[in-house]
Symmetry: C2
Subunit: 255 residues, 2 copies
């Protein structure tokens, strides 16, 4: 396949910029657009057989509805957000093109695709799926393919639950009033990584708020987190270390 132009809406920053650099070094011409720069959606769709939407979750579907109608039937529309059910449905509805939801499970700080997990949700994809698998695979990505629904169900755990849990830790820590410097001096390397994760969460409020609150399974996740705490609390403050240890041993046998 000849090298064709690739368009990335939101490619001026974050993971969009990362993929712009990735495709450029792979030999493609990449057009990026930001909120006020670069090609407009219709121009992007006209110029590029592959268009990737990489904007915050909250505006992803609006951007898809803008660009979708301009996509040609034999072109490919993709998005990079952390949720797949809504965006993939919108891409299918708004366009006649092929559609693949893509979720790269790494941040823009990584130096290569080697060993990184990437989820693909091929929703209407015949012509383009071998190309996408090929280029991601050639650069060492570990590809997993699933439905948007299953993706979001698993993300409810690995992302929404995990970040919710970190948020609860962060708010609790702030409430103690002990400074981060003081905590660091008394910390193991693993705890320092955890304090770093808390800071990272508070530094990207839009991203993490959307990953948590927009996940379609978030009510169940809140419920699981609340019940787990309620199961632990009496073991800790009424029954003590031995009862807690026994409960943890149970989980260890299960795991």
């Amino acid at each position: 396949m000849d090298k064709f132009p690739i368009g990335i809406i939101g490619g001026a920053g974050g993971i969009g910029r990362w993929f712009a650099a990735f495709f450029e070094q792979a030999g493609y011409t990449v057009h990026v657009s930001g909120q006020t720069s670069g090609l407009r959606p219709a121009e992007m769709a006209a110029a590029c057989p592959v268009v990737i939407v990489s904007v915050p979750i909250g505006v992803t579907q609006a951007v898809i509805r803008e660009v979708g109608p301009h996509m040609k039937k034999d072109s490919l529309l993709m998005d990079l957000t952390s949720l797949k059910t809504g965006p993939v449905r919108s891409m299918l509805e708004a366009s006649a093109s092929e559609v693949i939801g893509l979720h790269p499970l790494f941040g823009p700080g990584v130096s290569s695709l080697e060993g990184q997990n990437v989820v693909l949700c091929p929703a209407r994809a015949v012509k383009w799926i071998p190309w996408l698998r090929g280029i991601l695979g050639d650069y060492g990505a570990k590809i997993v393919e699933t439905t948007p629904e299953r993706h979001d169900e698993i993300m409810a755990v690995v992302q929404a639950l995990n970040h919710l849990n970190t948020l609860v830790l962060g708010l609790s820590i702030r409430e103690t009033g002990i400074s981060r410097e003081e905590l660091e001096r008394f910390s193991t390397p693993l705890v320092r990584a955890r304090l770093e994760a808390v800071e990272n969460l508070f530094s990207h409020p839009q991203l993490y708020a959307e990953i948590i609150a927009e996940n379609p399974h978030i009510s169940r996740i809140l419920d699981l987190h609340e019940k787990a705490f309620s199961a632990v609390k009496p073991l800790v403050d009424q029954q003590g270390a031995e009862a807690l240890e026994a409960r943890m041993r149970q989980e260890n046998r299960k795991g």
Copy 2:
């Protein structure tokens, strides 16, 4: 100071064994004892000017009460547990010797002291504190000295709160029924580290149950964790991503 023998009760495993190897390569003769092996407490106290207690938190004070009365006035009794108020009080009461509570903030997997945090609580220490600061400092440890009470107050956050939080995450994840292998395939490197932390917690139930449940501030910690969750819950499931984002921005400004 000539190289004298050092005794480590509980030095057959874990962090006790790590310190046995550390002092040996620094040129000291080290006597270790396990539950059924090595010198008995009275023999240990007679043979070694420095005796270190390195047994699980739950039995630390009982072991201290056994060895303490045999310690000579000009010798040094230390412990390595993750809590300091109880063990240091017991060491002061049970012995006439010098007493320093020591909490190494690393696990037995590290290859050197270089850059590792070590907390000292010098409780009755004149002759021995320069020696201890010297040897730990020579090998690159970052030493912080404080009272047992302040130590436990900070550990309530960096250890009890942190591990409680990981325990809640772990129980929630298990409840979803999704296997670890499946979660790993859909995870970022940071999430994989978190899943690893959960497994590590469930693999050492006694250690973590004691760190959580035996901390003297655990009631307050439970309270903080519960309140933080209660503050987040309505933002997530009633008000949505924007309200949650606004709340996180507030913390970011404070931090």
